[in-house]
């Protein structure tokens, strides 16, 4: 019997262009939502700032403040300003929103980025090793333990760590990202930043890592049953190479998705942990801005977080193709 081998057509450039156009349209829709949704919040900046303040306003003063702080640029102008990288001025600080955003971003990246990378790495390696040792006591114990850990919310882990390691043992600081205005050398400053990072980072790792472990282990179990693994074993390849170069690579796909989505939600993802440890990040910035109805800040943070989600999903599209070339040819 002759089999006609029909080559898969390589995905055309217009196909990729189509993906990019689709994502661009989605980005435009998100820009519109980030412009319009925060405006639907009840209350405004003047109400939030002055309603239970130490000063009492007359009608004229209130009207004057409202006129001063209410900005109605219209969507067209908002879009035009965005293109010029002008995110507007914060009502509360009367400083550029970009300054606030980039002031908080490094702390979020440090905390969330490190937590995501570490929890992915640890989850991946332990997941692969557990799946390889399937039905062993160690694997069963790990699955049980991780299932329990997965069920414990960040807020509980955070408070337990805080009470034990900050209050009782006093090994780590209870709040902040570093000792404020400490007059120390750069090296000592890095040490104090790491010291302050320890508890929030551990909280997030304990929260993210069990999911990564369980997902990798499950994917891996499916993969190691595949015939190509038997072939690899029969060829006498070293077990480490079989595990990581052959099996784990194929089990990586769902973990990459999870990593991407976790990263996409980094702005709001660590809000609870940032609040518990008074850690300065984008989550806290957004929380405070919503409380104060500081619309330019809310709009900017919502917009940037939405665009990050989009960019990461777009990036994942391409990463999938690198990890698993079959996707390139999938229809």
């Amino acid at each position: 019997m002759q089999i006609n081998m029909v080559p898969h057509p390589k995905r055309s450039t217009p196909g990729r262009l189509g993906t990019i156009i689709t994502f661009s349209l989605a980005a435009l829709a998100m820009i519109y939502l980030s412009y319009s949704l925060p405006r639907l919040l009840p209350g405004d900046f003047v109400t939030a700032m002055y309603s239970s303040s130490h000063v009492t306003l007359t009608a004229e003063q209130e009207a004057e403040l409202r006129a001063y702080y209410t900005e109605e640029p219209g969507f067209g102008r908002y879009l035009f300003k965005l293109v010029r990288l002008d995110w507007g001025y914060s009502y509360a600080f009367l400083t550029p929103v970009s300054e606030l955003f980039f002031g908080a971003l490094p702390w979020t990246l440090l905390l969330l980025g490190t937590a995501n990378v570490l929890s992915m790495f640890i989850g991946f390696v332990t997941g692969v090793e557990a799946a390889w040792r399937r039905d062993s006591r160690l694997e069963k114990g790990m699955v049980g333990g991780m299932t329990v850990l997965e069920g414990i919310p960040e807020i509980s882990t955070g408070i337990i760590l805080l009470v034990v390691f900050a209050l009782k043992l006093q090994w780590f600081p209870a709040a902040g990202a570093e000792t404020a205005y400490a007059e120390v050398s750069l090296l000592a400053r890095l040490a104090t930043i790491s010291h302050h990072l320890a508890l929030p980072l551990t909280t997030l790792i304990l929260s993210y890592f069990p999911g990564n472990f369980l997902m990798t282990r499950n994917s891996m179990i499916m993969v190691i049953k595949a015939p190509f693994i038997t072939t690899a074993k029969a060829k006498g390849l070293p077990p480490g190479r079989i595990r990581y170069a052959h099996a784990a690579r194929n089990a990586l796909l769902p973990l990459v998705t999870r990593f991407g989505l976790r990263f996409a939600f980094m702005i709001t993802g660590a809000l609870v942990v940032e609040r518990i440890y008074s850690y300065p990040g984008l989550g806290t910035l957004l929380f405070n801005a919503i409380q104060a109805r500081d619309l330019p800040v809310v709009q900017a943070v919502v917009l940037i977080s939405s665009l990050i989600v989009l960019a990461i999903i777009l990036g994942l599209e391409f990463i999938y193709r690198m990890i698993d070339p079959r996707i390139e040819h999938a229809h």
Binding site: L41, P42, G43, D44, V46, T47, A48, M49, Y50, S51, S52, S53, H54, V55, T56, L57, T58, A59, Q61, E62, L65, Y68, A92, F93, L94, T95, L100, G103, A104, W107, L162, A166, L167, Q170, P173, A174, A175, G176, A177, A180, Y181, R275, I276, S278, P280, G281, T284, L285, N288, I290, Q291, A292, R293
Partner: protein
């Protein structure tokens, strides 16, 4: 020669011993210089510390007060000189004369003078600073370099409390060319003549750094650096020595005291209160409001929602600790049976489900809960639950609604509510607080009753502001409290126990200011603690 030399060395040694002896003997009275003081609060960010950019709440004003001085100030005993060393009032010319301190410098080294005071008053008239009402100030005139006369349009009793002791003096040479003070974003916008120079505010971290102004006219401040940090766990940061001063919750007092910290307890100057929409039925009927007052058990709220930390509030708004408090203020003992009788007397009848009805309509009301508490902090609401149960016990069906604070505030301001829980301080400060919390023309506050139905009350409120004689003013203020408690446009519920703790090892004594700092801020961070 050797003998002479030996004799000289001996004398020198004796002289050194003598000098050291003198220093040791005066040692305990010389206050040691402290390297830095760290203060924490849970919010951190209170805006930039200048008059136009700090948030309009107590912690924002306090952060500014380290940088800018006022004419007079208050400490733990009462008014004390600040930029003015003496002041007098002349009733004939309706003017206050202030004799200013000599040798005062701004943080940039320029000399301070009466021209700066005159400039500040004119500037605040043109660009209002909302903490300082200038309506009753006609103008100011410099009488030489060290004297200034401030003229009033009419007698104004709270002048010191609301202007002299609150108004930060601005440097003329910096602000005279500033046309939009809110947007003035130059480092020079933070040059004052207060005890501390503003160095940094980190918005992301909610931290502030100040440095001692060594040329301060009242002497070098006690701590070289003053740092504010954001931290929501006062028990931990105080007990681990990370900060020197923080507001605490009452149940933290015991463990912190055990660790050697000093606990400060504030007088009753901040109240949680029940706002009533007296513009709509049935709340526009005074009898209904009285029924509410009898239905509410203040002590039960304190016991159940606050583990007993607090005390019942006066129905006349001013604190019982205030010098103008009226002992004749009507009170409403908790009496559900009496509340029911009042409701029945105004036409309500018991329904089958235990709740009252009138004209076939059930007596159903909504309460907006609130998370605000003393010193700009927030706390999960439990008061609403207790009040709901108390009102339902007398036959009023209650929907308790707990929304995000700005949403609640927006509804109260627009009169889109039935009852709303709120709270404010200033009850130990000047009695002008009564005008702010009662007068109908106030628009932007969720705490003001905005009540204009009783003409006599309005007349008395206007009269107390203009009464310069303290005894006569006290009589008027007492009468106001009595009418207010009878009308009940809002119901004061309780004074939460308000506490702070500090580390005494640094030798700094913190205290709560008499009547609160400035307009009555109930926070134990008086700058005089680091000055004298």
């Amino acid at each position: 020669m050797r003998k002479q030399m030996r004799g000289f060395v001996c004398k020198l040694f004796l002289l050194v011993v003598f000098v050291i002896g003198i220093f040791c003997s005066v040692g305990p009275t010389v206050l040691a210089q402290v390297k830095e003081i760290r203060i924490a609060d849970s919010k951190g960010d209170w805006g930039y510390p200048n008059p136009y950019r700090h948030y309009p709440r107590g912690p924002g004003y306090i952060r500014m007060s380290w940088v800018f001085d006022t004419l007079v100030w208050k400490d733990d005993k009462g008014y004390i000189p600040a930029l003015a060393r003496k002041w007098t009032y002349d009733p004939k010319s309706l003017s206050f004369t202030f004799e200013l301190q000599k040798g005062v410098k701004w943080h940039d080294g320029r000399p301070f003078s009466s021209a700066d005071v005159v400039f500040t008053i004119n500037y605040f008239k043109k660009h209002p600073y909302l903490w300082v009402p200038m309506d009753d100030v006609a103008g100011a005139e410099a009488m030489g370099k060290d004297k200034v006369v401030i003229k009033l349009t009419k007698p104004y009793a709270p002048f010191l409390a609301y202007i002299g002791g609150v108004m930060p003096i601005l440097p003329k040479h910096i602000w005279e060319n500033v046309t939009d003070p809110r947007k003035y974003n130059d480092p020079r916008a933070f040059i004052g003549c207060g005890p501390y120079k503003f160095i940094d505010f980190n918005k992301a971290k909610g931290t502030y750094l100040y440095e001692a102004f060594t040329d301060y006219y009242q002497g070098r401040p006690r701590a070289d650096r003053l740092i504010y940090i954001k931290a929501g766990k006062p028990l931990m940061i105080l007990s681990t020595g990370k900060v020197d001063l923080a507001n605490i919750k009452p149940d933290m007092a015991k463990p912190l005291k055990k660790k050697g910290l000093v606990i400060l307890v504030n007088a009753r100057g901040w109240n949680k209160k029940l706002m009533i929409n007296h513009k709509k039925p049935p709340f526009n009927d005074k009898r209904f409001r009285k029924a509410l007052a009898h239905a509410i058990n203040q002590q039960e709220i304190i016991d159940k929602a606050h583990r007993g930390f607090g005390s019942p509030a006066s129905f006349g708004l001013l604190s019982p600790d205030h010098e103008f408090y009226s002992t004749n203020t009507p009170t409403y003992v908790p009496d559900p049976a009496k509340a029911r009788r009042i409701l029945e007397s105004i036409g309500y009848a018991g329904g089958t489900d235990g709740f009252y009805t009138k004209d076939g309509q059930p007596l159903k009301i909504e309460i907006l809960a609130s998370n605000i508490t003393v010193a700009g902090e927030s706390v999960a609401d439990r008061d609403g639950e207790v009040i709901k149960r108390q009102l339902e016990a007398v036959g009023i069906h209650v929907d308790l609604v707990n929304m995000e604070q700005a949403t609640t505030d927006g509804r109260v301001i627009k009169w889109d509510f039935d009852l709303a829980i709120s709270g404010h301080g200033g009850l130990l400060g000047d009695a002008r607080i009564l005008n702010r919390m009662i007068m109908p023309k106030v628009t932007g506050s969720v705490n003001s009753a905005r009540f204009g139905a009783n003409k006599e009350l309005l007349k008395l409120l206007k009269a107390q502001i203009a009464e310069m004689d303290i005894t006569r003013r006290k009589n008027i203020v007492c009468k106001i409290q009595e009418i207010y408690a009878d009308e009940l446009p809002a119901i004061s519920l309780y004074y939460p126990a308000s506490m702070a703790a500090y580390n005494p090892k640094k030798g700094i004594k913190w205290y709560y200011t008499v009547g609160g700092i400035s307009l009555g801020i109930p926070i134990a961070q008086n700058k005089m603690s680091l000055v004298k």
